[in-house]
Structures are given as C-alpha cells and as structure tokens.
C-alpha cells in the first residue's frame, strides 16, 4: 500500500491528495486528539506560534490551551511532566523543537520513561510520544545536526520510529500515540515541506513493519528516515548503470522488522546499509551484525555500510556534504559489494 502511495501509482480510483509532511503530522495529532481526550500536546512554540515547523498549525485554536500547551525552554521539565502525566493515565505528545535539545531531557527519557514499566514490574506504563526533527539539515552547525535515532534505539523499553514519507509519517504517528509504550518519533527539518499522497480517510500503519519502497534483484539498500529519498534517487541512478537495487525502508528501528529485511537480503544476496550516524557503535553496525550472523549463508559479499564520517558536523556546505552519506559514496559501496 505505502509503496503504491510513494510511487503515486495507486490503482485506487479515489483521488488521493498530496500534502506536506507537516500537515500529515498535524492531521495525525488532530485526529488522535479528537478521538481521545487524554491526548495532549506540549512543547516549545507548539501553540501560539503553530509549531516551530508549523506541525501543529491551528491546533491551539481548535483544542485550546489546556491541550495544546506552550512550554518554556525546559526540556527536562516538560518531558518529565509528560512522563508523570502518562504514568497517571494521560497520553502526552511531547514535541522537541529538534532532538538535539532532547539531550537536556535524556535522563527522563532513558531512566524514567523507558524503565518505569520494568522497575514497577508492569504496574506502571508510560504511553507517551516524544517527537521532533532529528538529523542534519542544511548547515546548522555541529550542535544542531545530531542524528540520535540509533542512540535512542539502544535502550530497551523505548520504541523508536523513523519514517520518511508523508503517508508513513501520518500512519505511524497515529499508531505511536495509541501505543502504550514510550515512543521516540523522528522527523526531519529538511522534509517537513515534502509532499506526498495521503488519503483523506483514517488509516494506521503498524509499528515494527518495514516497507519495500522499491523492488530490485541485485542488491538490497537498507535505510530509514529522510535518507530514504537519497537512497531512492541513488537506486534510480544505479538502475541506469545496470544495477537493480531493492530499497527497504525500516520505518521502525525498535522493534526491528527482521523478517522483511532478511527476506530482501535473501533475495538479492547483497546488502548496503545507508545511515546518517557515525559508524562506531551505530544502528547500522548492529544491522550488519544481524545480517552477517543470522543469514550468513545468504550473503554473496560482506554487508556494506555507508555512514556519517567521524567528526562533529562542520558548518561549511563544502564540508557538510563530505561528512554525510551521499550518492557517490553509496554507489561506490554498492559497486564494491556487487563486484
């Protein structure tokens, strides 16, 4: 279904709108708040300003200040208030303007939200969504370009969702809000304005299901979050060079959909992982380990990994592009894996 949506080749005769990701997110939150009075949104600029990236446009007017709450700049404090409220039966959505600032709240996310259920032997659950932009955007400098999706995926007790398309964003955010666990939900500054088909009617996408965004035969490209668009472009270019790449969009990092991933690699026998993370202790390295051990016999070549290079992000565009995974490095790695 989402594959069809992405490629806009849906055979459904119903007209499908094209909307921006920020609007898909706004629709997801609005629908869930209409459905469930326990859901509320809190964060910096989410109310009067309509969201730093306009993801909550109109929501203050629609729901009022009780449920769309402008917070002062105090991530630890408002994340913790969300966590406490979740323990007491509400279902908060906590927006971080970007996940760079979530580090001010990381003790609350890792040590309180993620562990409350284990420490209380299931007596407490913490149904909360932490969402916001993650990863580098254009030239934001070292402190605003962190990519923490794998970092959060390290922690048992958290669910980590990192979709790419407007369709996946909406369906997965709705599922995240309904989930009874703490969910960390990654978006991207670079793609809030990206348009894609999103049906008018309600739909959900299950957490923990990867999606084949392009079918291919020669190599499996694995990615998630906004790098999906980079990888799809690269797959197109590879096709022109005679290499047929299958693209697996993980969409959820924890729990991982091993089945879809392994099935694809078992089909192509070659795999390149593209991640906006430093390679050391990264999620991609974990994926590579899984593939290399659990389906070793299916591989015709070692798993390739394309990562952010090992330095904090410099400001200059001439340097930023060097650090981030790019088309050239992906193609080079694919050719090495396919040679």
């Amino acid at each position: 279904m989402s594959n069809a949506m992405l490629n806009n080749s849906d055979t459904n005769t119903e007209a499908v709108r094209e909307i921006q990701i920020r609007d898909a997110l706004q629709e997801a939150m609005t629908e869930e708040m209409l459905r469930d009075g326990r859901v509320f949104l809190v964060g910096e600029e989410v109310g009067g300003y309509n969201g730093a990236y306009k993801c909550s446009k109109g929501m203050l007017d629609q729901f009022g200040a009780k449920r769309v709450i402008d917070a002062p700049i105090a991530e630890n404090g408002f994340a913790a208030i969300g966590i406490g409220a979740a323990m007491a039966g509400l279902r908060p959505i906590v927006e971080f303007m970007t996940f760079n600032f979530s580090l001010c709240a990381i003790d609350q996310i890792l040590n309180t939200a993620a562990k409350s259920r284990l420490m209380s032997a299931g007596a407490i659950s913490c149904p909360i969504v932490f969402r916001g932009a993650g990863g580098a955007a254009f030239q934001l400098g070292a402190q605003h370009a962190n990519s923490f999706d794998g970092f959060y995926a390290y922690t048992p007790g958290l669910i980590v969702v990192a979709p790419a398309t407007p369709y996946d964003m909406k369906g997965l955010l709705k599922s995240s809000i309904r989930n009874d666990n703490p969910v960390v939900f990654f978006e991207s500054e670079l793609t809030y304005g990206k348009r894609g088909p999103v049906p008018e009617g309600e739909y959900l996408i299950p957490i923990g299901k990867a999606d084949i965004k392009r079918e291919g035969a020669d190599v499996t490209l694995v990615t998630w979050s906004k790098n999906l668009f980079l990888v799809l472009d690269t797959a197109e270019e590879l096709a022109q060079q005679g290499i047929s790449a299958e693209v697996v969009d993980l969409r959820t990092l924890r729990p991982l959909d091993k089945e879809t991933l392994f099935n694809s690699v078992a089909k192509t026998h070659r795999c390149v992982i593209v991640q906006e993370q430093h390679e050391v202790a990264s999620y991609g390295a974990y994926l590579s380990h899984l593939i290399s051990t659990e389906i070793f016999d299916e591989l015709d070549a070692p798993v390739g990994l394309v990562s952010t290079l090992e330095a904090p992000m410099p400001y200059s565009k001439a340097l930023e592009v060097v650090l981030l995974p790019g088309k050239d490095r992906i193609i080079e790695k694919v050719k090495a894996v396919c040679s």
């Binding site: 105090a74 966590i83 509400l90 420490m119 032997a121």
Partner: protein
C-alpha cells in the same frame, strides 16, 4: 480520637524503624544486594506527611524509599521480599531497595537519579488537574537534590502552570557525605521557592505534629487552589548514606543530639504520659510480629524465574 491518632503515628513510625533495622541485618548477611539507603531517624516526615493525605493523592520519592512506601500503607511482606529480590516483592524483585512501587496506594516509586523525580511528580499533579479530580501529588527529595536542574525545572513549571503538588525537601543535613554548608549558601532551603514563586514552609521534621500541620495546609492549597508548595523538613538520618557508609564525616555528639529528640521516642513517651503504656507495648509487639513475619515471608518466597528476565519491558 487523639489516642487513636497517637497510636497510629507511633505504629507507622515504628514499623519503618523495625523494618529497616531488620533490613540492615539482612544486608550484613548478604541476603540483600546493591545499595541499601536507610531512612532511620527521618520517620516522622513520611508518616506525618502521608497521614494527612487522601487515598487519591499520588506519592513519589527518591531512592531512600522504604519509609514512604510503608507509611503509605505498603505491606511489610512485599517490601521485605523486594529487598531480597523475590517474585513476591512489591516490584516482583525488579525494583530493589531504591525502587519500591505500590500502585494500589498510588505510591509511584522509588527513583534513583537525584532530583529527577521532582518534575515527574509535577506531571502526576498535572494529570490530576487535567482530569478534574481533587487529587494532589506529593514528592519527597533530599537536600542533595536542590542543586540539580530537574528540581528547578519541576518547581518552575509547577508554579507557571499552577500544579497541585507539594515538594518536600527532607533536609537530613548531608548530601551523601557532604554537609549542607558545602552545598548550599544558606541553611534556609525553602527560600528557593521565592524565585518561581510559590508558597513555602520550613518545619521541624522531628516534630510529627508540625509536619502534619504543614503538609495539611499545603495539600489544601494544592487541592483547592491548584497551587504548589515547597516545604523544607529539617531532619536527620542516624545511619550512613547507605550501608556502605560508616559516616565518619560527623561527630557522635551530633547524632546523639538528634537521637535525644527521636520522634518515635517522643511519641512513645507522650503515650505513656497519657496513660497509654499498655497500648504502646501492644503496638511494639504487633510491629515485631509483623516484621518477623515479613522476614520469614521474604526468605521463604521464590526468586523470579530466569525465563521471566525480559518481562515487563514492553506493554
């Protein structure tokens, strides 16, 4: 009525004292692992404060949590079993000494990162206000917690959003082994309330009736006006920071001075002066039976099954 109240306060404080003395013994026998932070000496704060709250109020505290758990009505059996890491514990052996839970009594834990529980408890209060209930939240913290950011963010947001929460600093004079004069520029800790601002009170934590009065007023303010209060209760722990701490950073005279005003002793003597000597002795016997029963129960209980090691990670 007064006799009943005195008896109850005496019993609750004594339960905590005896529970922890037995815990210390079991710790030295290596039946309890990890850290064991004893509340001995501070009992009047938890018992006094929780004796004036309602059933629908939330209670949260830090890692020195046995006293608050018991004072809120937690079972000694489940508490002792938790210390021994047994499946019958109040957190089925997953929490341990620092992480007691008792959701039936709205006792929301036992948290181990200093100060982190402060804004979380504000979130409990937020939820009660959001739901339109008259419940409030009370959160206990040590004097060592008042310099960390989460304390200030919790107080700041509670004042800004008018949350029905009571913050109780149990000033036992030491942040682990560091005396208060090295961590705070003034002995008046509730003065920090002025910055946010919110109501503040300072109370003698060894005077259980003063604690009751102060917390009752704070709870009323929270319940009726949705306003937070910062309370400083001056108190003392007779034991070290944890069982690993011989507490060589203070003099025996200091400890004896506080013990001379020991709240359990004071309430017990008050009972005797009111002709309640028999009742006092009866309570002591009852508590002893309860604690010995709890130890036996804990020792006889099974450990969690190895195949359940990953349980309770996700819903």
């Amino acid at each position: 009525m007064e006799q009943e109240l005195l008896s109850d306060l005496y019993k609750q404080m004594l339960r905590i004292r005896r529970f922890e003395e037995e815990a210390a013994r079991l710790y030295t026998e290596k039946k309890i692992g990890g850290f064991l932070h004893l509340y001995i000496g501070q009992e009047a704060v938890a018992v006094g404060a929780l004796s004036v709250l309602q059933k629908n109020d939330y209670v949260m505290t830090a890692y020195r949590c046995h006293g608050h758990y018991l004072a809120r009505g937690g079972s000694a059996r489940a508490g002792m079993a938790e210390l021994l890491g047994k499946e019958t514990g109040c957190a089925k052996g997953r929490g341990g000494s620092m992480h007691f839970f008792d959701i039936e009594n709205r006792f929301m834990g036992g948290w181990g990162i200093v100060g982190a529980q402060v804004p979380v408890a504000a979130g409990l209060a937020f939820a009660e206000k959001y739901k339109g209930s008259d419940g409030v939240a009370i959160v206990f913290l040590g004097d060592g917690a008042i310099n960390i950011g989460s304390f200030h963010e919790g107080l700041s947001l509670s004042a800004l959003w008018n949350l029905p929460v009571i913050f109780v600093i149990e000033n036992n004079q030491f942040a682990m082994g560091t005396p208060l004069e090295k961590t705070a520029p003034t002995e008046d800790l509730s003065i920090r309330a002025l910055a946010y601002p919110m109501a503040r009170e300072t109370v003698d934590g060894h005077d259980i009736f003063a604690v009751r009065e102060t917390i009752f007023a704070a709870a009323k303010r929270a319940r009726e006006q949705h306003l937070p209060t910062l309370v400083e209760a001056k108190t003392y722990r007779y034991r070290g920071h944890s069982m690993a701490d011989p507490a060589k950073y203070r003099t025996a005279q200091d400890v004896e001075a506080w013990k001379a005003r020991d709240p359990i002793k004071v309430v017990g003597e008050t009972m005797e002066s009111l002709g309640m000597k028999g009742l006092r002795e009866q309570i002591e016997q009852d508590v002893e039976l309860e604690i010995q029963d709890a130890v036996r129960f804990a020792e006889e209980s099974p450990f969690p099954a190895p195949e359940t090691a990953l349980d309770y990670t996700y819903v």
